[in-house]
């Protein structure tokens, strides 16, 4: 999992498939999501897994209209392809990434 910031966000998502997990330290469901993402990142090798703290990087959250966390956005070459809102299971995440 890569930690994204406003400063490196565009660079990091610009090439290939990147899954960004929008989260915050105070959000229980986000903390539940973390180990599921960690485990899945080991299985899905062609996607880069990244996280973004919405409190430290509010501008990015606003830019992508993130209004609920956890929100997962899949980017391909910098473009949003899919998003999922709320805690999902390992199997649901695998389906989402297909």
């Amino acid at each position: 999992m890569i930690e994204l910031k406003s400063s490196n966000f565009n660079d990091e998502i610009s090439k290939g498939k990147v899954l960004v997990d929008f989260n915050a330290t105070w959000c229980g469901p986000c903390k539940m999501m973390a180990p599921i993402l960690e485990a899945t990142s080991g299985e899905v090798k062609d996607i880069k897994f990244a996280g973004l703290d919405i409190d430290d990087n509010e501008d990015i959250a606003i830019k992508y209209n993130v209004m609920s966390i956890p929100t997962l956005i899949l980017f391909v070459d910098g473009k949003e392809i899919k998003r999922s809102v709320g805690l999902i299971s390992h199997d649901e995440l695998i389906d989402f990434l297909k």
Partner: protein, 299 residues
């Protein structure tokens, strides 16, 4: 064959696992999503005896680790159906089938939806079921809360400290919530009560822009421009898959007695999924203990 299979890894299910394991039984817990149940959405639990301030996440994680340390297997697999074969029960998961002597259903409950157009599409885009999770996205914005119970009033109170304006929309003019909390909310300058009214329409394409509210008495329809709608109209039990297995009341709760027994011998129910008067962390755990102890007595 397991001695006990528990469906659901919320506080009721995990407590059942502790009591089952400590009674020397083989226990499998099946969970569709992640451990902890609804309590993970609560930033601070303040009514749990002897633990005055604990976060829902920490509480759930401690409970989960306690269960794992007892040697209980927890599998993340959704249960689709279960069948009673007398001596044993057959549990059908998404990937596997399991046999067990006894079954404890601790499936919990989920947020009740309003059931109106665009509700699902706008969830996460202005529509939310968790003020403490999503409230900070609406700093200095206009929001509404719909509901009349404790959660709705607590949410409105919490949001009134963050948002410029909070509408509290409730279908009646009396509240199930505690009087003291309602009185407190009424004192706030930036809170407006809209009573005897329902949210009947959500407007906005990618993001919620306004809602329509219909007064039940006058039929007057009012459009309110806002950024967020927090829905707190109670819970629905997640028992649909077990409708053919055990007796369920007309509100969807599995009918249980004091010992958490259902109408089927060897099948028990614990926590929010069962008929009861108070759905709280402490009562869910009490159910878990009782159900597992009852299940452990079956030879």
């Amino acid at each position: 064959m397991y001695d006990i299979i528990v469906v659901g890894a919320g506080p009721a299910g995990l407590t059942a696992a502790i009591y089952g394991a400590r009674a020397g039984k083989s226990v499998l817990v099946l969970e569709a999503k992640s451990y902890g149940g609804q309590i993970i959405n609560t930033p601070k639990i303040e009514n749990y005896p002897a633990m005055p301030h604990v976060s829902g996440f920490d509480f759930a994680t401690d409970l989960y680790n306690q269960v794992l340390a007892l040697g209980v297997t927890i599998k993340f697999e959704k249960v689709l159906d279960a069948f009673d074969h007398g001596e044993y029960k057959l549990v059908k998961g998404e990937n596997n089938e399991y046999k067990t002597k006894t079954l404890i259903l601790a499936t919990g409950a989920d947020n009740r939806k309003l059931g109106i157009d665009k509700e699902e599409e706008l969830t996460g885009h202005g529509v939310s079921y968790c003020a403490s999770c999503d409230g900070s996205f609406f700093k200095n914005k206009i929001v509404a809360v719909t509901g009349g119970g404790n959660v709705a009033i607590e949410d409105a109170n919490y949001l009134s400290n963050i948002c410029s304006k909070v509408y509290l929309i409730h279908r009646r003019d009396t509240f199930r919530a505690d009087d003291a909390d309602v009185a407190e909310l009424k004192k706030k300058d930036n809170v407006e009560f809209i009573l005897n009214s329902n949210v009947t329409k959500l407007n906005g394409d990618n993001v919620l822009e306004s809602i329509e509210v219909t007064n039940k008495i006058t039929n007057e329809v009012k459009t309110i421009p806002l950024s967020g709608l927090f829905i707190a109209v109670g819970q629905v039990p997640e028992n649909e898959n077990f409708r053919d297995l055990v007796n369920i009341d007309d509100r969807g709760y599995i009918i249980a007695n004091e010992s958490c027994e259902t109408n089927v011998p060897g099948i028990f129910v614990a926590g929010d999924a069962r008929t009861k008067t108070l759905r709280q962390l402490v009562t869910a755990e009490a159910d878990g203990a009782i159900a597992a102890t009852s299940a452990s007595r079956i030879k």
